[in-house]
C-alpha cells in the first residue's frame, strides 16, 4: 500500500470545503462534504442508491454548483471558472454513455473535445488517435457510436474525455450494464491511466472492483461522508457498510467470520484469503 500525502496538502488537485447542495425540489443531496483528492490517487466513492455520490462527483467539474461551501481545483476556486475550463482539468464520464455521445463517428466524437480547446488540427488528430488507441477502439473508429455495444459506447465516452488530457478522471458507475469480460477490460485500462499519472475518482457500489483497484475509499450515506480510509480500513467495519447499503466483498466477509480460528480480517482478494488460510494450515 503506497501511503498518500496528507489530505489537503500541496499535492491536492481537488478540494471540497463544507459543500452543501439542495435540489430545487428541496431535497438536500449533500449535507456538508469535506474532501481532498491528491494527485495520482485512485479514489473510490461508494454508497447506496441515493447516497449523494453522483451529486458529489458532478461538483468536481462544475456540472453542479454548490448551494454553499467552496471547491478548489488545482488550488483555484472552481466558482470563477466555466464547465468548459474545468473540463481541461477534471474529465467527467457519465454513467449512461448515451448522455454524452452525439457525433456521427467515433473519430469525430473523440476529436470533439480537443478541437474545442482551440488546438491545431494536427494536435487534435494526435490526441484523438492516442485516446482511441488507449481505449482499444481503432477497429470501430469510423462507426457511429450509437451502433456499438454498451461496453464499446462506454469506452468511446471515456476516450472522448481523456482526449482532453484532464489530470483527473471521474467515472460514474463505469461498469453498470457491462458483463464480466467488458468490465475487466475497462478496469484494466483505467488502472493503466492511473499508473501513467491520471488521478482517478471511481463512483461505484461494486465492492469487488473497489477492493481490487482503489487505494482510498470514501463511503457516503445520506449526503455525507461517513468514512474516509484506505481500502482495508473501509472494509473493516461490515456493520457500517451495511447501514450504507453496501456489502464488503465475500472474501472479506469470510475472513471476518473465520477470525475466531486465527484468520486475519485484513483480506481484500481471493489470493490474500487463500494465503491466510494456507499459512494457518487451515485450508
Amino acid at each position: 500500500m503506497i501511503p498518500h500525502p496528507v489530505p489537503g496538502g500541496p499535492e491536492s488537485v481537488l478540494r471540497l470545503r463544507n459543500v452543501k447542495f439542495t435540489y430545487e425540489s428541496g431535497i438536500e443531496a449533500l449535507g456538508g462534504v469535506n474532501l481532498s483528492v491528491d494527485k495520482g490517487e485512485y479514489l473510490a466513492i461508494v454508497g447506496g442508491n441515493g447516497s449523494g455520490k453522483t451529486t458529489l462527483a458532478k461538483h468536481m467539474n462544475g456540472l453542479l454548483r454548490p448551494s454553499s461551501g467552496d471547491i478548489l481545483v488545482l488550488g483555484a476556486p472552481a466558482s470563477s471558472r466555466t464547465v468548459a475550463e474545468l473540463a481541461r482539468v477534471v474529465g467527467y464520464v457519465f454513467q449512461n454513455p448515451d448522455h454524452q455521445l452525439f457525433c456521427g463517428t467515433v473519430q469525430e466524437e473523440v476529436a470533439f473535445g480537443p478541437s474545442n480547446l482551440g488546438l491545431g488540427p494536427t494536435e487534435v488528430q494526435a490526441r484523438a488517435d492516442h485516446a482511441i488507441d488507449i481505449m482499444g477502439l481503432s477497429h470501430v473508429k469510423g462507426r457511429s457510436p450509437l451502433s456499438l455495444s454498451l461496453g464499446l459506447r462506454r469506452r468511446v465516452s471515456i476516450a472522448s474525455v481523456i482526449a482532453m488530457r484532464p489530470q483527473v478522471l471521474v467515472l460514474d458507475e463505469p461498469t453498470t450494464g457491462l458483463d464480466a469480460g467488458e468490465a475487466s477490460d475497462l478496469m484494466s485500462i483505467v488502472r493503466l491511466l492511473n499508473e501513467e499519472g491520471s488521478t482517478i475518482v471511481l463512483i461505484t457500489h461494486e465492492m469487488k472492483l473497489v477492493a481490487e483497484h482503489a487505494n482510498r475509499v470514501v463511503v457516503m450515506a445520506g449526503g455525507r461522508i461517513v468514512l474516509d480510509a484506505d481500502a482495508r480500513g473501509a472494509f473493516s467495519d461490515p456493520g457500517l457498510l451495511r447501514s450504507s447499503k453496501l456489502l464488503p466483498p465475500p472474501v472479506t466477509l469470510l475472513a471476518h467470520k473465520l477470525a475466531p480460528i486465527g484468520v486475519s480480517k485484513d483480506v481484500l482478494t481471493p489470493e490474500e484469503l487463500v494465503f491466510e488460510l494456507t499459512r494457518g494450515g487451515v485450508g
Binding site: G48, N49, G50, G151, A180, L254, L277, T278
Partner: protein, 289 residues
Amino acid sequence: MIALKLEGVRFRYPGASEWALDVPSLEIERGEFVTVLGPNGSGKTTLSFLANGLVPKSVRGDFEGSVEVFGHRVSDYTVAQLSTLVGTVFQEPDSQLFCMSAEEEVAFGPENLAVPREEIAKRVEWALDVVGLKGLGHRPPSTLSGGQKQRLAIAAALSMKPSMLMLDEPAYALDPVGRVELYSILSGLKARHGMTVVVMERDAEDLVEFTDRFVLMSGGKVQAVGPPREVMGDPAALARAGVSPPQMAEVASLLNARRKGPPFGFLTVEQAVAEITVNAHRHTKGGSR
C-alpha cells in the same frame, strides 16, 4: 409439472445472419428458481420474451420450434392472456411504469382483465406488501428510488396472479443491499407461493444462494444446465461463456489446487465457513494424534 418447455427453438432478428437463440431443448419445473446466466448478447433477453409470446409476436424475426408454459402452447394465446400465467419484468423499470400512483400501476393489469373491484383491491394490497412497498401505494412511481421502482414493476406483474415470474436483470443498477433484498423477495415468492422464478443475469455472485438451477448461456446457446455446485464448479466452462465465478468458488478452486484432502465445493460465505471450520477441526485433531 413443467412450467416452461422449449423444443427446437430458434430465433433470428430480421437481417441477422446468426441465430440470436438456438435452444434444442430446455425445461423448467414448476416452483423452481432458475438463473439464466450469460454475458451481454448471449440471448438472455430474447429467451425471456419467449414465455409470454413477445417473441415472435411483437419482436419479429425468423422463429422455429415450440414453447409451452404450464402445458399450454404459447402460440395459441395472446400476450395479454399469457400474462396471467407468466409475469414479465423488464430490465429498466421506467420502461413499464406509466401510472400516476403505485397503486394504479399495480391495479392496471387486473383492471384490463375486468377483475372485480374488491378482488383488485385485495391483489394490490397483497402485491405491494409482498415486495415491501406497503404504505407507498399513493406515491407517484417517479418519486420512488430505483430499487423501489424495480419492486413496483414486480408487484404490477404479481397482481395478475401469474404462476411464473420472468425477470430480465432485475437488480440492474441496484446497490448491494438492494440486490440481496430483491432476490430475497423473489425467493420468498417461490417458498411461500410456489412461484416459478426465472432470473436473467450476467453475474452469479448474489444469486448462488437462491438458485436451484443455473442455465449457462453464450452465443444464443445453452452451454450448461444444472445445480449451482455443478455449473459453478466448472470455472473453465464459465470462462468460455464469459461470466465470472462467484468469489467463493474462486477461493475454493485456489484452495483445492494446493490441498490433498477432499476438494472444497462451497459457493457462499456460509458454506465456506462450515466447510473450512470442519476441515480446521479435523486438521487440529489429526495434528494432536
